[in-house]
Symmetry: C2
Subunit: 305 residues, 2 copies
């Protein structure tokens, strides 16, 4: 990992192309905070040097003045994170249910005002499932039941070619990022074909996918013809979140768990893992995949004599 220290402090991802918001979209603050901090470290050579590390900030979410949860986040896109969190926890279905999201870093709080209240908020948030979530780790209990009702487009309608997958990976590889400068963050990106629509990073992969969820909800972007890239592992919770936003193809730099695999298989979702450079494994959903096999390098054989 090469670290470009000199500009890490001022670093910000390129903004996605501007888009209209859905009718009735919530008004959002445009809060700002530092994403990285510089510290002095000593290495195995006994040398001292400066290094940028990512921030990790508590953000307490209040819904209609009721405290809901505190998320630990990088803090780059908190308004979208909050909107997407509510969506992925199935506390709202659409962005127009929210009137406003006001983030104030001075008090580390996000105040959400809804238009019609969240029905049974207390009951629905009483059961906690703590998952492997790198990013959050709670899925309120009934979300697991809801995934059974999710539907993805069929395999003829939503497919991916191997060449497209490789262009996605190349785009990610070249994309500037906090990870490249400061490490320790997860990244998530939404693609349409090989076109990158939205890229986001957070200290937790669940925050990253929730932030993308919030952006999709705000702009009315549907998931059926999209693919998701994540640096996080394909656990049950990640698969559920992708299904919740309707994305049928998920590509991870990392691996999969048996439950992530089972859920994806049940949903007909295509999962690709260990994806980097031109390498990947298709774990399930190969019916969505148009393989364009690489030529395997010839094995070098040492011949004696």
């Amino acid at each position: 990992m090469s670290l470009r220290q000199e500009s890490a402090a001022a670093f910000a991802w390129p903004e996605p192309a501007p888009r209209p918001v859905v009718p009735g979209a919530p008004s959002l603050t445009h809060s700002r905070c530092d994403w990285t901090r510089e510290i002095t470290i000593v290495d195995e050579y006994g040398e001292h040097r400066q290094l940028h590390i990512p921030c990790e900030r508590p953000l307490t979410i209040f819904v209609d003045k009721r405290e809901l949860v505190t998320l630990m986040t990088l803090g780059a896109r908190p308004e979208l994170l909050v909107l997407g969190y509510l969506r992925n926890q199935h506390l709202i279905a659409r962005a127009d249910e929210v009137e406003s999201i006001t983030v104030d870093w001075d008090v580390a709080a996000a105040a959400v005002r809804t238009r019609g209240g969240v029905p049974d908020l207390e009951t629905r948030t009483s059961r906690r499932v703590v998952t492997t979530g790198c990013g959050q780790g709670t899925v309120f209990g009934d979300a697991m039941e809801q995934v059974g009702s999710l539907r993805l487009p069929d395999a003829q309608a939503a497919r991916i070619r191997q060449g497209t997958l490789q262009r996605m990976l190349e785009t990610i590889r070249q994309h500037d990022s906090i990870h490249r400068r400061a490490g320790s963050v997860h990244g998530c990106a939404l693609f349409q074909g090989s076109e990158l629509l939205m890229f986001v990073e957070d200290v937790g992969r669940h925050n990253a996918i929730d932030t993308i969820t919030g952006w999709m909800a705000l702009h009315g972007v549907e998931g059926a013809d999209k693919a998701l890239y994540t640096t996080g592992r394909l656990t049950s919770e990640m698969v559920m979140k992708a299904a919740t936003i309707g994305v049928p193809i998920v590509v991870s730099r990392n691996g999969v768990t048996a439950m992530g695999y089972d859920l994806a298989s049940r949903l007909g979702m295509a999962l690709f893992g260990r994806a980097a450079n031109r390498h990947f494994l298709c774990y399930t959903g190969a019916e969505r995949f148009d393989s364009e096999p690489e030529v395997k390098p010839a094995t070098v054989r040492v011949v004696s004599g």
Copy 2:
């Protein structure tokens, strides 16, 4: 990553050396379940092959018949995980407060019976902080306040030499693991000097450190003269858990966040990151560190002429 497929299904870590348990220790079941599953994948060459992936199982914890939380876990050491979880969430202080932990995978539940009840269980578990936890992601609200009262041994009493650190890394490198066979799991290990005392893996790094916590509590193993190795990032929650079990030196294969750094600095904990082979960065706590600098390889200079 080399995968030894043929024996992944039957794989189990070497058991730690047997030790006595503390007086009044809880009785524990010895539940068993599969840790990995075999699936068929297709790769970039269009080749189909078998692969082992780690399991991810829900485990609902009931404390004195009251449902507390559901953890998603690999399932390798659930009794120790539950004991350690309760300890790291500050719901118990010692193992002898627990009478029994009964895990039944048929109903994916762990029933905990305490000797004297958990005071104010409902109130104390009402505030949820959802962290970046790869493994869990909740720290019940008052745990953050409690860390301020934690004390670690001073820098003269608990130190680490660079040579010891490198032997720790070499031990980990050679240690057989699910990660080596199936990927997608985090590992955590407790060391005394360069001696490995306990090694555990889970789909989440928080489960792994909680399992070690449970083992320490069960056997009355103190943290002051130990060091912890983790594959997970050094976030605020990881630092807090290490402080809770009294371990003043933490080594990670991964990086650190600003909040993890701040907490560790405040606590006087030594944090090493990006640790692999002979490389590492000491982020903070260098006052505990006896540097034995490597010789930096000479830079190869191309001289023209």
